[in-house]
Symmetry: C2
């Protein structure tokens, strides 16, 4: 059923039917009701394509998610983020289109999306230090929002981020407060902006306490479980092993725990662990009592809100770039305890 058929069926013109359905005032209440009933009866839905062609909009948002070429891995937070964003889109009648793409040729994808006119805006995932995508998108004139921030980017742009620096400062400070002096960092890839900020927070806390960061117990890689495990095994064999570990992801933290236990030690006694927790739906940080002492910020909420921001920016292209900074929640779990006394 298309507009033409529907309007013939009603004995009205396409114009009137279109207007009735889109809430224009030039149509009587009576007619509008009649049209709406018929539309419901025939289950009429305007073709997105045709509507898009006519209006110049596409009613779709693009998510370009980088596939790490190194590990061929897609960020596990992605599912939850998308679920949040998808909620917003569904409510506002937008579609969501996904492109999974090797992290090198993202740029190409953006200009493709723009010139093919297939989306009204995009969400930028996994921003890196000095990420040139911001400039590119601004040049293209394609509306966008960033999940995270881009250190080194001069021009204003819209973003939503957790305060990674203060979160990691807090985590580290907490360990220091428990008496820990040797604290390792297991971080994400530090080309990623968030990882960079997290390290800065970690280092700031150490320096605040008069401790000096030791690069031999600071590691950075894709945040897999295995990375957490291997790194933990490794740093625990250090001549001066850490008694505290600051970790960047719950998944890696699970590996950290395994590493500690495989070394015959006990988490929360011999080694204390703190981590950031993205509050993924399938991977809660424990039930009543948290497993890990952690900073927590829901990535799904981020998706929801960021989508909202983008839709607003599209609706009002002249508005100034909105920015949102969230503070992570701090929870104390069973993974931390006083630093073991030296023997």
């Amino acid at each position: 059923m298309n507009l033409k058929e529907l309007s013939q069926n009603l004995g009205l013109s396409q114009t009137t039917v279109s207007r009735a359905l889109n809430g224009y005032p030039e149509v009587s209440a009576k007619t509008r009701q009649r049209v709406e009933q018929a539309a419901a009866k025939f289950n009429y839905r305007p073709s997105n394509r045709a509507k898009g062609l006519a209006t110049g909009k596409s009613y779709a948002i693009g998510h370009v998610i980088p596939l790490s070429t190194k590990h061929e891995m897609v960020n596990p937070i992605f599912g939850d983020f998308i679920a949040g964003a998808g909620e917003t889109y569904a409510r506002e009648g937008y579609e969501m289109t996904l492109s999974i793409v090797d992290d090198q040729d993202e740029a190409q994808i953006y200009s493709g999306l723009k010139s093919k006119n297939s989306v009204d805006g995009v969400v930028v995932h996994g921003p890196r230090m000095n990420d040139n995508r911001i400039t590119l998108l601004q040049e293209l004139g394609l509306p966008f929002v960033v999940h995270g921030r881009v250190s080194g980017c001069e021009t204003p742009y819209p973003w939503l981020d957790v305060n990674n620096r203060s979160a990691f400062r807090q985590l580290t400070k907490y360990l220091i407060g428990l008496g820990h002096r040797r604290i390792a960092l297991i971080n994400g890839l530090e080309v990623m902006d968030f990882a960079h900020r997290r390290r800065a927070g970690y280092e700031a806390a150490l320096i605040d306490a008069g401790l000096s960061p030791d690069p031999t117990i600071m590691r950075s890689d894709e945040m897999t479980e295995e990375f957490g495990y291997e790194t933990t095994r490794d740093v625990l064999q250090h001549p001066d092993p850490p008694t505290g570990i600051v970790c960047s992801s719950l998944i890696s933290a699970i590996g950290v725990r395994r590493g500690i236990e495989d070394a015959g030690l006990k988490m929360g006694q011999d080694v204390s662990v703190v981590t950031h927790d993205d509050a993924l739906s399938y991977l809660k940080n424990g039930g009543k009592t948290p497993i890990f002492t952690a900073t927590r910020s829901s990535v799904r909420d981020a998706g929801r809100h960021l989508a909202q921001m983008l839709l607003q920016a599209i609706a009002d292209p002249d508005q100034l770039p909105q920015t949102t900074l969230w503070d992570a929640e701090f929870v104390i779990g069973g993974s931390t305890g006083p630093a073991p006394s030296k023997d």
Copy 2:
């Protein structure tokens, strides 16, 4: 830059330019080359919308992923599946559109996608027992493929699945071979078809060995880490506790491990654990030596292949429904050992 502008620029008609670009024979090699160069120079990309309107195709595939209303959770395998499928789409010039939707009103979404003409086909995720989506899609005439199978569905339909039954039979049998007699099952939600098949495999192995399935040590829920943990704590307090656990997901298995250790026991000695492993990129089952004895089947490969199947089905609507059954790989890890001798 659109077709009109490009063709004016070349001094050719839109027809010719369109044909040159789409590989039709009615255009001389010379002209074609000239057109292609100009297209490249101006970075011309045909508008997807317009192309779709003209051809009746949309060059997009829909993925409708159910959001469990109960736990508001999106299946963690989803990211990897999508990454695989996305590869195929990118190669074939298709877009991927996502709808995240409460599992009740999926049906509505499908008919919406159909009538809005926004996709050429859909991938059905998370099929349930007697899932009525198959019939619905067939009635709608919307091409589809299913990731998994639907027990109780009479008519043929295209699917790709792992042999869940034989995998779980093998896992269980392996434990039995090690001398285990009390074996618990920690399964996914058994309305899901895959979970149902897995239980069937588990039970078959027990019965083969003359053991009788005990419902008090068979649990089924959303496969979170927490579920694995809680259930393990629980079954270990059973008057006649299991020495073996068959688990449906690596994420739950991590919880199982935590539960075993929190109970002061050792995995692989006091309690043996086997699991299915979807080979997620951020959650490998260990490095050199697997953590868990497991059946493994890459969900990303499934995505890649299923997308291919769908594209073929779209290209040739008259072909018979293709079906693909994969056998999972079996790997032995450190989570299993001989059943502890009774004292």
